[in-house]
């Protein structure tokens, strides 16, 4: 028992030292991200001192870029599941090696989600009111309470799976299937839950016709399974370029198929939504009209949403028609990612509020501090992910392992 603990502490110590050892590129990248985090922290301190008045939000549009990014990043967190399903269920060897990289992304993404929600709170000092057992938890009535459960659950699941597999590899031991496989299957189910619960957060609001429609949840799945794997395709290429971790093109092509199908599914659902809104042409189409064409002279989102639609359609065309060239695939992935970030971010949140239930339109525009805080949360997520990759790649390649001369020890349970 003591040996196990000592080995583990030694692992942490060595991991800390390894974290600060890297190439000039590593230091520049991490330094840049840290700088962005510090700038964002400054803005957040200003927000704490002033209140949310520092943001562009109003009583009319009471959620803005924080919640928009939160919604988008919840989708990214499910990227892991798209790697896990073929790897574990269909025993796809190409994906097996990279599945941990996907799950690490899920961890970073969930932490970003929690940060986006935290910076949106008017009273972050009262966070403990949300902790089951300490505060008052309105479960099962409030979908936000559900979201707290599924997000923390997903975080813990993925931390366990990645932590267990990586530490087993570090110790040079064969991982015991009983210790991680059940959790992998729960995580697959759970990934669908985090999307669906987050979608229901909006769907359940009767006063907001733009959200109060059954199509939001399926669209969340479609858009998430586009943006997540699209990001993974780019990230894998960065990893294989800057580290010794080998990722074969076959893994990228597998992901390409996923992105293609999910993107077409998402566009199909978008078409369904357009038909429903505009063929019947009732008063409830005001929000969609505001988003796509502008309403009563207010049209702030119109250029954004059309850029998003154009980007997604272009990505779909490239994916269907384009040769299997990696450069073209990368362009399609960037287009799809940006398109969905707009569509599922501000394109989903702001029209939910406009026109207001009393028919008013007040345009929302994020302030500089609000934007810097968002950039900071993204930078923190990337920092976290880069750090985890920096430690995991040498573990997976066998370069970073427990000292050889020690006798093999049992795994901590």
């Amino acid at each position: 028992m003591i040996d196990v603990l000592r080995d583990y502490l030694l692992f942490i110590l060595r991991a800390v030292r390894l974290s600060f050892h890297g190439s000039r590129i590593y230091y520049t990248w991490m330094g840049l991200l840290t700088l962005l985090c510090v700038v964002a922290l400054h803005s957040y301190a200003r927000q704490i001192a002033t209140g949310l008045a520092l943001t562009g939000m109003t009583d009319q549009v009471s959620w803005g870029v924080y919640i928009a990014n939160f919604t988008f990043v919840v989708g990214l967190a499910a990227a892991a599941v798209m790697l896990v399903i073929p790897a574990y269920i269909y025993k796809n060897e190409d994906l097996h090696n990279v599945v941990i990289l996907g799950e690490l992304l899920a961890i970073a993404a969930i932490i970003m989600c929690l940060l986006f929600v935290t910076v949106d709170l008017g009273r972050p000092d009262r966070f403990w009111h949300l902790m089951p057992g300490f505060g008052e938890f309105n479960f099962p009535y409030s979908l936000l309470a559900w979201d707290v459960v599924v997000l923390w659950g997903y975080l813990l699941l993925n931390m366990h799976i990645c932590g267990y597999l990586l530490y087993a590899k570090y110790c040079g031991l064969e991982p015991k299937p009983m210790m991680y496989l059940p959790f992998v299957f729960i995580a697959i189910f759970w990934a669908i839950c985090i999307h669906t619960v987050t979608a229901f957060l909006y769907v359940g609001l009767v006063g907001r016709p733009f959200w109060n429609t059954a199509i939001v949840a399926p669209r969340f799945i479609g858009s998430a399974f586009t943006a997540g794997p699209a990001l993974m395709i780019i990230v894998f290429q960065v990893i294989r370029r800057y580290s010794r971790f080998h990722i074969r093109d076959e893994a990228l092509q597998m992901l390409r198929q996923i992105v293609t199908v999910a993107l077409l599914f998402n566009l199909f659902l978008f078409g369904c939504e357009l038909f429903k809104e505009f063929y019947s042409d009732s008063v409830h189409t005001s929000a969609a009209r505001y988003l796509l064409f502008g309403l009563h002279g207010h049209a702030m989102l119109v250029p954004w949403i059309w850029s998003a639609i154009a980007a997604e359609v272009a990505a779909a065309l490239i994916l269907i028609l384009g040769a299997r060239r990696i450069a073209l695939l990368n362009i399609a992935c960037v287009l799809a990612f940006v398109g969905i970030w707009i569509e599922k971010g501000l394109g989903l949140i702001v029209p939910g509020f406009l026109p207001t239930p009393l028919g008013e339109i007040v345009e929302y525009f994020p302030t500089l501090d609000e934007t810097l805080i968002c950039i900071g949360v993204w930078a923190f997520g990337l920092l976290l992910y880069s750090w985890m990759i920096h430690l995991s790649v040498p573990i997976l390649s066998g370069d970073f392992r427990r000292a050889q001369e020690k006798p093999a020890c049992p795994m901590p349970e």
Partner: protein, 323 residues
């Protein structure tokens, strides 16, 4: 380790990772770590510096205060005195803060005569004064809509009408405030039970428990909830000093607030401030369970309608057209 050796091995992959992570720390490394730590501390200090200007840091009592329904009478008294002191320190007035409970056998309802309302907004003004809502930024619970004659389309309404005199020709006026719904979507979505419906039908917010997530604002079909984006500002002379814990006390920053039918007044048997201020008698309020009350009469005898009845929230707020 010599400088030359360091240069030779850096990034060249000659040392194994084991050698890197297990090598003893030398003097150079300590200097590096020290410099980095100092730079980090300086950056952190700069980043957090705005917090020094933050007014009114919260006390440990305030931080640990429990949910309204878990407080006993003594704890509540202590909290009321603490809030009075806080208001006196911050706004320079001596408040008289109490926590009146709902009256037994009472359920409130409200009816508004659209046929009479002239859109003068005196209700709005009286409401702000009574409820100590922030004057800058301005928070109002009642929104009076100038409607197009012959239409109930809210999108065609004017929220910011400002003519010389009211009423204007070919318009009618529809004030909207919290409908105190029986099946309230706002209380259902609150993740921490910071807002709930009292037995007399009034929906309240515990401003000391709200975490400021604003989910209730998204849920409300009547746009009745307001958020304190910053610390409320009220000129001292305009502060109403008779305050209630769940009602019109000056709110802290970062929490949601709303109309409470002037809970502190109505539980003493008075009318809400908006009813009292209305020069045309368009506003009727009372205990719907009392067969002799005017509100009971109106709901029985007049042709009342409910705004957005299709939302299915069963409001306690009705409109009717009458001379």
């Amino acid at each position: 380790m010599s400088n030359q050796h360091e240069k030779k091995t850096r990034g060249a992959g000659i040392r194994t990772l084991d050698q890197i992570t297990d090598a003893p720390l030398d003097r150079r490394s300590f200097i590096k770590i020290g410099t980095a730590a100092a730079a980090g501390a300086a950056a952190l200090g700069w980043a957090l510096s705005p917090l020094l200007d933050a007014e009114g840091s919260i006390t440990i009592d305030e931080f640990l205060q429990r949910h309204y329904e878990r407080l006993n009478a003594d704890e509540m008294q202590a909290i009321l005195r603490r809030i009075e002191d806080d208001i006196s320190a911050r706004y320079g007035v001596q408040a008289n803060l109490s926590d009146p409970k709902p009256l037994p056998g009472v359920e409130y309802a409200y009816a508004l005569n659209i046929g009479r309302c002239i859109g003068c907004r005196r209700c709005v003004e009286a409401c702000m004064r009574e409820n100590n809502t922030s004057r800058d930024p301005e928070i109002q619970y009642i929104r009076v809509l100038e409607m197009e004659k012959g239409s109930l389309d809210l999108e065609k309404s004017d929220h910011y009408y400002d003519p010389e005199t009211v009423p204007q020709k070919d318009t009618y006026y529809m004030p909207v405030q919290c409908h105190q719904c029986s099946k309230a979507p706002c209380t259902k979505v609150c993740p921490v039970n910071a807002t709930w419906q009292e037995p007399d039908g009034i929906i309240v917010v515990d401003y000391n428990w709200c975490i400021g997530c604003r989910y209730c604002m998204a849920a409300c079909p009547y746009w009745a909830r307001r958020f304190n984006y910053t610390t409320p500002l009220i000129p001292v002379g305009e502060i109403t000093t008779d305050m209630t814990y769940l009602g019109n006390r000056i709110r802290p920053r970062g929490v949601v607030e709303k109309c409470t039918f002037c809970l502190g007044r109505v539980r003493r048997g008075l009318n809400p401030a908006c009813v009292e201020a209305c020069p045309t008698g368009s506003r009727v309020f009372g205990n719907v369970l009392d067969p002799g009350s005017p509100i009971n009469y109106i709901l029985r005898e007049k042709r009342v309608y409910i705004l957005k009845e299709d939302a299915g929230t069963i409001p306690r707020f009705y409109y009717f057209f009458d001379k």
